[in-house]
């Protein structure tokens, strides 16, 4: 659906900062999250997890647990179906292991009992006989031919023979003559980088309540980024039909991509099926960190050649990602995104995924891109330093723009990179003076964005208010934005519209809330649904006025006569039309179903000033500014929130967040004490500059904004620290011991 020709549209609602609809419920504690629902007779579920990084399950004895008074059901891997589809099978096996446990924290068995205390006691009575196997948690180790094999026979055909069986994915992108390109360079820098796995760190742990009857009909209430995804995963894992499962998404306390899979819902359903009662499972923070999705851990080599005046002549990247114990294609996105900000004659990226004894990777904002772009932007920064060039000018000189053949294939349409770089250059931050031990870092970021399958139903209520029904859990304020777009299109005030999120039985299929797609795709479908309703309202009014449908137009929330033969009828408001809908043909609604494309890629530029403490390795973030193209910022507060939140998560990734494994392959920091997300006092106010270069693929020009902001911070912070410390950092996180060591040699 194309950008509306009326380019200079005067928005009335879109672009304002209206009150968020979920605010009061959230601050008063009324909002119902995953753990907040209960049902009569409900049981409490609890999961037993592997203490080993890698082991064969020889036997599981659940008899003592079953015999305990109050225990109503015990399940193990054999209580779930074995879906044929590999992706569904991986989810099922990840929910409850079958033959092997693949990582510390892998679920092995579960119980449902009449109280939490009994469930806890019962878990301790389950005896699992393990045969420990050698393990591997480092991606480079896992790629060695003699590495312990995590899973056999999982490599795709694209993987060359003779490699470790852990290597599952191989991909390659690029164009041009690399050798000729490097020959033209005045300076070539080649460096290797490593980044630790990080977790999305949402505040709300996964929680669900599920019920499955002997008739095969089930209900699930859970916190998720996609109720339809939960339905598909549960149907496959339980061997039931999708129509028989109704999934309701609760209010959600953060996701960031981490709630795009299922961990507990199939287990709760399996327990409920056995017990004949609803079962609630609430994960602990320890379980969340051990067994839900961290991002990939990586090892990367980047080589870039540059002329002495700053033109990049050739670039090559080799990315080795591990997405944990299962095959994983996140490296594909990393390899595509790595050089996307540059207009290059010769470029190649090669990607590999290797399995390790770590939890299954689950997307985290712009999956695959932050790490790859960190490595690339670090080398570009070092080239600028070595050649004495201004890092912004160099980015501008090499920036991708409309017509650039991207490093991953497609040719770019309207993109906002150059404008974003220019905004950064003009901003006072870029020229503000720096003191001793301080450094300024810069990085570009890129994300593809996604559209996807979307259904929206829009009801004109008889009192003239509007109900929008959509199918995507609201993790970033989308209900407000969608109501705003409906209000804009219909010409009614924002507070006349209420947007709700449907359960899976109340609306057609919707893709997950991911890929920064919701404000774009659901917004687009909402506008179309509103237009359908408008068309119907105009038809009704034409009937009343007894004129042609074409002679009725919609303006400022009213049907008006237009054209030579329309006559002089006074305008009819939406409320007037709604009030008599029963007499003009029945209720009025509009709906729209689409697989939206044209999401429009998004670029951002981040500036970061840091100060390093030379004696302790501590890093202070002094100033941070985010520049990003939002296409059209529907609700600027939310857009700024996305920009700030992404920056903060990226700062955490750069400085302190990491999955730390011991020699035994067990996770050593499964808690927020030693898995260190930034706290408020670690951060300066994050300044934001929104640019609006309309996306040609959306009627209002909207682009997704949720993921791009986590892409640049890794390099922006690392470049700032490297400049402040006078030593190039090549490993994340730059925790104080690591930085102090780098500075003192």
């Amino acid at each position: 659906m194309a950008f509306d020709a009326q380019a200079e549209r005067n928005f009335k609602v879109v672009g304002t900062r209206v009150t968020r609809p979920d605010g009061i419920d959230k601050v008063t504690g009324k909002a119902a999250y995953g753990a907040d629902v209960s049902a009569p007779g409900m049981l409490h579920g609890r999961i037993l997890r592997s203490p080993h990084a890698h082991a064969r399950i020889v036997s599981i004895d659940t008899s003592a647990a079953k015999a305990l008074t109050g225990v109503k059901a015990v399940v193990t891997g054999t209580d779930l179906a074995q879906p044929e589809d590999e992706a569904f099978a991986d989810v099922a096996i990840n929910c409850l292991a079958r033959d092997k446990v693949l990582y510390d924290g892998h679920a092995v068995a579960a119980v449902a009992a009449t109280s939490k205390a009994i469930a806890k006691q019962a878990i301790r009575l389950i005896k699992v006989n393990y045969e420990k196997l050698p393990h591997v948690t480092d991606v480079d180790e896992a790629m060695k031919p003699d590495a312990p094999v995590v899973q056999e026979g999982r490599a795709l055909e694209t993987v060359p023979a003779g490699m470790s069986q852990n290597v599952t994915t191989h991909c390659q992108f690029g164009h041009g003559d690399l050798e000729a390109g490097f020959a033209k360079a005045d300076k070539i820098i080649e460096r290797s980088f490593k980044t630790a796995a990080t977790h999305q760190g949402y505040i709300e742990p996964q929680a669900c309540m599920a019920s499955l009857g002997s008739d095969g009909r089930g209900e699930v209430w859970c916190c998720t980024q996609g109720q339809y995804m939960v339905r598909a995963n549960c149907a496959a894992a339980l061997g039931v039909e999708e129509s028989q499962l109704r999934i309701t998404a609760s209010e959600i306390g953060g996701g960031f991509g981490g709630k795009t899979s299922t961990f507990i819902e199939p287990v709760a359903l399996a327990l409920s099926r056995k017990a004949g009662k609803p079962v609630k499972i609430v994960m602990t923070r320890d379980e969340v960190l051990k067994a839900t999705g961290p991002t990939i851990s990586t090892s990367m080599d980047i080589k870039i050649g540059m002329t002495k005046d700053g033109r990049i002549t050739a670039a090559r990247g080799e990315l080795r990602y591990s997405g944990g114990a299962y095959p994983n294609a996140t490296v594909d996105m990393g390899a595509q995104a790595a050089f996307a900000a540059y207009d290059l004659e010769a470029v190649e990226t090669v990607g590999w995924n290797a399995m390790t004894n770590r939890p299954k990777e689950i997307p985290y904002r712009a999956p695959g891109a932050p790490t790859a772009i960190y490595a690339v932007e670090s080398v570009v920064d070092e080239l600028c330093q070595e050649l004495g060039l201004d890092p912004l000018d160099v980015r501008l000189m090499n920036a991708a723009r409309k017509g650039t053949r991207s490093s991953y294939g497609p040719t770019f349409n309207e993109i906002g990179l150059v404008a974003t770089l220019e905004a950064a250059k003009a901003h006072p931050h870029y020229t503000a003076p720096l003191g001793p031990n301080q450094g300024r870092g810069l990085s570009c970021g890129f994300w593809f964005n996604f559209g996807g399958n979307t259904c929206v139903s829009l009801n004109i209520n008889d009192d003239g208010t509007i109900g929008v029904v959509e199918g995507n859990p609201d993790i970033g304020g989308s209900r407000a934005s969608i109501s705003m777009m409906a209000a804009e299109e219909l010409g009614v005030p924002y507070d006349k519209v209420r947007t709700v999120i449907a359960d899976t039985s109340s609306l057609g299929f919707n893709d997950i809330t991911d890929g920064s797609r919701v404000t774009f795709a659901v917004g687009l479908a909402t506008i179309e649904a509103a237009r359908a309703a408008i068309k119907e309202m105009c038809r009704r009014v034409a009937k009343i006025w007894d004129i042609d449908e074409e002679a009725v137009i919609w303006e400022d929330g009213c049907a008006k006569p237009a054209g030579p033969n329309a006559g002089t009828h006074p305008p009819m408001t939406l409320a007037e039309i709604a009030a008599i809908a029963g007499k003009t043909g029945g209720p009025i609604a509009g709906h729209h179903e689409v697989n939206a494309d044209g999401a429009g890629v998004s670029f951002g530029v981040h500036l970061c000033d840091t100060e390093v403490d030379r004696e302790t390795g501590a890093v202070k973030i002094l100033r941070y500014t985010v520049f990003q193209d939002a296409g059209k910022a529907v609700h600027p507060d939310y857009v700024e929130g996305q920009m700030q939140g992404g920056a903060v998560q990226g700062i955490g990734w750069a400085l302190n967040e990491e999955y730390i494994y011991g020699e035994d392959g067990r996770l050593q920091n499964a808690g927020f004490l030693d898995y260190r997300v930034p706290v408020a006092s670690d951060l300066p106010p994050i300044e934001t500059v929104i640019l609006e270069i309309p996306n040609p693929g959306h009627p209002y020009g909207v682009r997704g904004v949720g993921e791009t902001p986590i892409v640049p911070p890794l390099a922006a912070v690392s470049n700032a620290v490297s400049r402040a410390a006078g030593v190039r950092m090549t490993e994340l996180p730059m925790s104080p011991p690591r930085l102090l060591k780098a500075m003192t040699g």
Binding site: K120, D286, E615, T616, G617, A618, L655, N656, I660, Q668, N669, L673, D674, R676, P678, V679, S681, D682, S735, P736, P737, L740, K741, T744
Partner: protein
């Protein structure tokens, strides 16, 4: 688990002494309740002492202050005279956790929990603080430095508990300071820490100095040599170098997820140096 609120110190001591299973004292609960929730410990008996006489009071005594064992960090922070006399001790206590934790957490709990990284302990040690201990056989006074014996352990006998901690008197030309290193700016556990307490003469020359470091050995360490290095100086470079060398020599840390041996040793010296300068300035010294 039984929860008991005994009516006297003696009754509490008897109760604790006679318990055959695992007993815990409930002060602020910010360690013990977390351990319970994390299933690290399941006590058979929890004894709440907060309501007993003097437990929630700060009283002047012999020119110093006696702090009840259930006084919270926030209450200490609001006590202007205590803060003026022992700013290092109070800043150590106030570093514990967040506002929420502050309104509950106690110095005695921090001491008895036996963490080598406990934030209130180094400055209590350099202050020469003395704990009053009630036991089944009566009351005794124990220097704070002698209470922790290793991670999670203390020297109190079965049935014994702390009822108050005395921060002794000190001259006006004296002060103290505490610093810790954490990777973040709050809500974290010390990777290394240092407290310094100094007394100066009227010329600003150090006449007495005590230095303690935390998180660099199984218990908080009082580093005698480091104090000796400062005495007779105005914290000139040579004295500071002596302090740093003595601290580094005393460190006996481990490498773990929070820091390496090398990092802990190096930063302990840096923090001791910085804390010494702060304490010196607070005591009125001019370098």
């Amino acid at each position: 688990m039984r929860y008991v609120k005994p009516q006297s110190f003696e009754a509490a001591a008897t109760l604790l002494h006679e318990e055959a299973g695992i007993a815990r004292i409930l002060a602020g609960g910010t360690d013990v309740l977390v351990q319970l929730k994390a299933e690290m410990v399941e006590p058979d008996l929890m004894v709440d002492l907060k309501h007993l006489p003097g437990m929630r009071e700060i009283v002047a005594e012999d020119g110093g202050f006696r702090v009840g064992a259930a006084v919270s960090g926030a209450e200490m922070g609001e006590h202007a005279a205590l803060k003026a006399m022992w700013p290092g001790v109070v800043e150590g206590v106030e570093l514990i956790g967040s506002s929420q934790v502050q309104s509950r957490a106690t110095m005695a709990g921090n001491l008895c929990t036996g963490s080598p990284a406990g934030d209130s302990v180094p400055a209590m040690v350099t202050a020469g603080a003395v704990a009053r201990v009630q036991g089944p056989d009566g009351v005794r006074d124990v220097p704070v430095v002698d209470i922790p014996t290793g991670p999670g352990k203390n020297s109190l006998a079965k049935g014994e508990f702390i009822t108050s901690i005395l921060l002794p008197a000190r001259p006006d030309t004296a002060s103290d300071a505490y610093l810790r290193f954490i990777p973040r700016t709050e809500m974290d556990i010390a990777v290394s820490s240092a407290a310094v307490s100094l007394e100066l003469d009227s010329d600003g020359v150090v006449t007495a100095a005590h230095v303690a470091v935390g998180a660099v050995a199984p218990t908080v360490l009082l580093v005698q040599d480091a104090g000796v290095a400062l005495v007779g100086s105005k914290l000139d470079d040579a004295a500071i170098a002596g302090l740093v060398a003595a601290v580094e020599a005393a460190c006996n840390p481990i490498t773990d997820k929070r820091g390496t041996i090398e990092f802990r040793t190096k930063t302990a010296g840096v923090l001791a140096k910085r804390a010494a300068h702060i304490a010196y300035a607070r005591a009125g010294g001019q370098a």
